[in-house]
Homo-oligomer: 352 residues x 2
């Protein structure tokens, strides 16, 4: 029996009270007599009444929902962030709308617009690009709080949004430092799109060389965070006149491609070639030999993003027109990364 939905009117009628009284009981208004509460609750029970959040949202001008834009939820990095974020949001009574941008900045902005039409209370964004004009203008004039996840925007958009960032630079500095200390000089760094995480990783690598006063014999290969690029870049690094003796993959997708190429060439990780990846996955832990990583707590990244957004949400007040207005300034949270040395790193093969 697909039950026709009961509305508040019916509850009020059955209880013989006004709708406003039902509303007060259900929303925990202080000024309700125990008798009233009883009558109403009895009616609610007997009808199996469930309030319509749509109508509540329209009236209250808040949906208790948050839009989350990722490029690809099937990427372990992003799904772990999503888990952390959803759990934190749910704990505060918020629901999460999720969408995939498929690495297309045009979809980023389309989804932001859609979420705005759905009147989400806030936005959690892991954008496909840091310089899309459409996205920029949408965010510059957004009416809700926004938290960027590991992204950095310039201009007005950047000034309006909060962000949760990972300290890729430090982790990468330690990773490359470890390789240099093992005797490597020609480190190959495979990066993804030109976004903050790529820039910071490059800086970290430079830091490591600079701190040791070494010539910049490293090679950087930029591209997309995809296995194809990981593989092509690895080919390039190994086929160079002066081949890299150690490779650092800036993400799990790149690692997949790199490993595929390494295996096809019959190279032994941690012997013929040293290898480091960014972000822990089951593969890095269980591979033989285990693969060194620049690690971070991805779930905490999502959790912090959600909590930052929630704190901005709570800091809102309504102006005289009944519209929400953010009173708090955007904030930036920096989360640590940590290099974990593993047997995939060893002295270079040609070190006599």
């Amino acid at each position: 029996m697909a039950p026709q939905r009961t509305n508040m009117r019916e509850v009020a009628d059955l209880a013989g009270v006004a709708m406003s009284s039902v509303s007060r009981v259900l929303s925990g208004h202080p000024d309700v007599s125990p008798a009233m509460r009883q009558r109403v609750m009895a009616a609610v029970e007997s009808l199996g009444y469930q309030p319509d959040m749509l109508a509540q949202s329209l009236r209250r001008k808040e949906t208790r929902s948050v839009g989350f834009v990722v490029s690809d939820i099937s990427n372990p990095l992003q799904s772990q962030i999503a888990l952390g974020a959803e759990t934190a949001l749910r704990a505060k009574g918020y629901s999460m709308l999720l969408t995939n941008s498929e690495n297309d900045p045009a979809l980023d902005s389309a989804h932001i617009r859609l979420f705005q039409q759905r009147r989400v209370d806030g936005l959690l964004l892991s954008l496909a690009a840091e310089d899309d004009p459409q996205t920029f203008s949408l965010l510059s004039s957004a009416a809700t709080p926004i938290v960027l996840i590991d992204r950095e925007l310039r201009g007005e958009a950047g000034r309006r949004a909060s962000s949760v960032l990972s300290d890729h630079r430090t982790g990468m500095r330690d990773a490359v430092g470890h390789l240099l200390d093992l005797g490597h000089r020609r480190v190959g760094l495979i990066l993804g799109q030109p976004m903050r995480f790529s820039r910071e990783r490059l800086e970290g690598l430079k830091d490591a060389y600079a701190a040791r006063g070494l010539q910049p014999l490293y090679t950087v290969v930029e591209g997309q965070l995809e296995p194809r690029h990981g593989r092509a870049a690895t080919q390039a690094l190994l086929d160079a006149a002066e081949p890299a003796t150690a490779i650092v993959a800036g993400g799990n997708q790149l690692l997949n491609g790199a490993l595929a190429e390494i295996q096809q060439r019959g190279l032994r990780v941690g012997a013929d070639l040293s290898l480091v990846s960014c972000d822990e996955i089951s593969l890095t832990q269980l591979y033989q030999p285990p693969i060194a990583v620049v690690r971070r707590d991805t779930r905490a990244l999502g959790r912090h993003a959600a909590e930052l957004l929630l704190s901005q949400l709570e800091a809102q007040e309504e102006d005289d027109q009944g519209r929400k207005r953010t009173t708090r300034e955007p904030e930036v949270v920096l989360l640590p990364t940590e290099f974990v040395a593993r047997p995939s790193c060893a002295p270079p093969a040609d070190a006599a």
Copy 2:
């Protein structure tokens, strides 16, 4: 400038027309003159008006949103399903609300109820349990179409919901058949919760033994789909009086645990012990030696689930009270699995 949101009233006033005309233009009503369309669109542009989907939903009695309950989005299996589902939903203009049940059946039902209050048009469920009474009663009387993902419910709930199922049995039969043909007789099967996928896998294993007229020397270890269980089960299988010579892990989490134990014991996969896993992940492909798997197209699983739901949604009509009513019967879609033999499977070590 956080822009106060324009509403349809303002657009109508600016264009000097009635609200209903604005509505008609925006919703593509056939009977509108080009002149009217122009006037309205000009006003819409100049105000940057974006319709309020909340109000639309309340009025139209549909939200164009779907609730998706998973146990843990950070699990590669589920995030791939989610990607497939979200992409298909988005293509038809639907948004996805995502929540994690954390493998807790009580959260399953709580989230279903919440989604119902949010008036989602349909539900996509990868439930934590197939026998929770709360979930059962909610689903038995649900007002919207429901698609179960790789789950099977009995009773009224099962009769009301559609489902997309994987043919685990065939894949497992081939996997175990392969092991038996290599000479293994004591196969250890590690399973998760007592749900359809576990039952089917067990049946597949039995099929393989039966087809060859072999004694049932296999061992089955049931538990949770978690690394801990994978590890403990592997210990048990290897420490038995008659240790298993081949292990089949019923999922990627179980594989993680199994591999950890195998490595700690210094056993060589594909030599001292044969290994098969269920569902492809980067680890199974890139491990050395590569790990045989019972494979399925997880993204297609999500896509089919979404498309099945969408087809049920399209088959709805409104009754005289303006309520939606499903006209189509629930459907079941069965998707294939495929065993992929790899070097992790070899004749048993004791085979002279």
